[in-house]
Amino acid sequence: AQSVAQPEDQVNVAEGNPLTVKCTYSVSGNPYLFWYVQYPNRGLQFLLKYITGDNLVKGSYGFEAEFNKSQTSFHLKKPSALVSDSALYFCAVRDAGGSYIPTFGRGTSLIVHP
């Protein structure tokens, strides 16, 4: 079975400060990990993914995520937050050797204050 946890319902950060949105996962085999963002009244938009290789993955809009196998985490980060980054962020995981359907987390609401 595969699962993903986003321990924070909401993250608040001031514009210009670094941000982190946390994600931990559980899979039987090797993980494929994804981050998506959802703006109001829009569908989920793909940000980045980890498949293999370098643990630091860079994605859209200046976001990056670090894969940590020992901590089974895939936290989303950005060095300097923008007000326009305010949105709902979803982490998702797939077992590389299992179903190709990802399991999504509950989502974390990121609020960036001016």
């Binding site: 829009r42 569908g43 938009q45 793909f46 190709y100 359907i101 399991t103 509950r106």
Partner: protein
């Protein structure tokens, strides 16, 4: 940039009625999916579709649900007899392939309200 589209954006229906939610996936994509998101809860997988048949479905996708690709562009989700608990946001998604870890592209969703 190509995108997934969904219609309608909001559907209100009475309990027991049939609804059809429509999606137009990205044209060169081969896998299609339906997800739902009950307000405040996680995004839940319903069904995936490839080569004109269901390839995987969740326990949520019972006999009340069906999917169809009636032509070369549309992908539909039908709920035969809606229940109050079917009220949710329904997202369609598509991807280039399934086994490789291609990201999924999501539509804007249809908000279904069952009264």
């Amino acid at each position: 940039e190509p995108e997934v589209t969904q219609t309608p954006s909001h559907q209100v229906t009475q309990m027991g009625q049939e609804v059809i939610l429509r999606c137009v996936p990205i044209s060169n994509h081969l896998y299609f999916y339906w997800y739902r998101q009950i307000l405040g809860q996680k995004v839940e997988f319903l069904v995936s579709f490839y080569n004109n048949e269901i390839s995987e479905k969740s326990e949520i996708f019972d006999d009340q649900f069906s999917v169809e690709r009636p032509d070369g562009s549309n992908f539909t989700l039908k709920i035969r007899s809606t229940k109050l608990e079917d009220s949710a946001m329904y997202f369609c998604a598509s991807s280039e392939a399934g086994e490789r870890p291609y990201e999924q592209y999501f539509g804007p969703g249809t908000r279904l309200t069952v009264t």
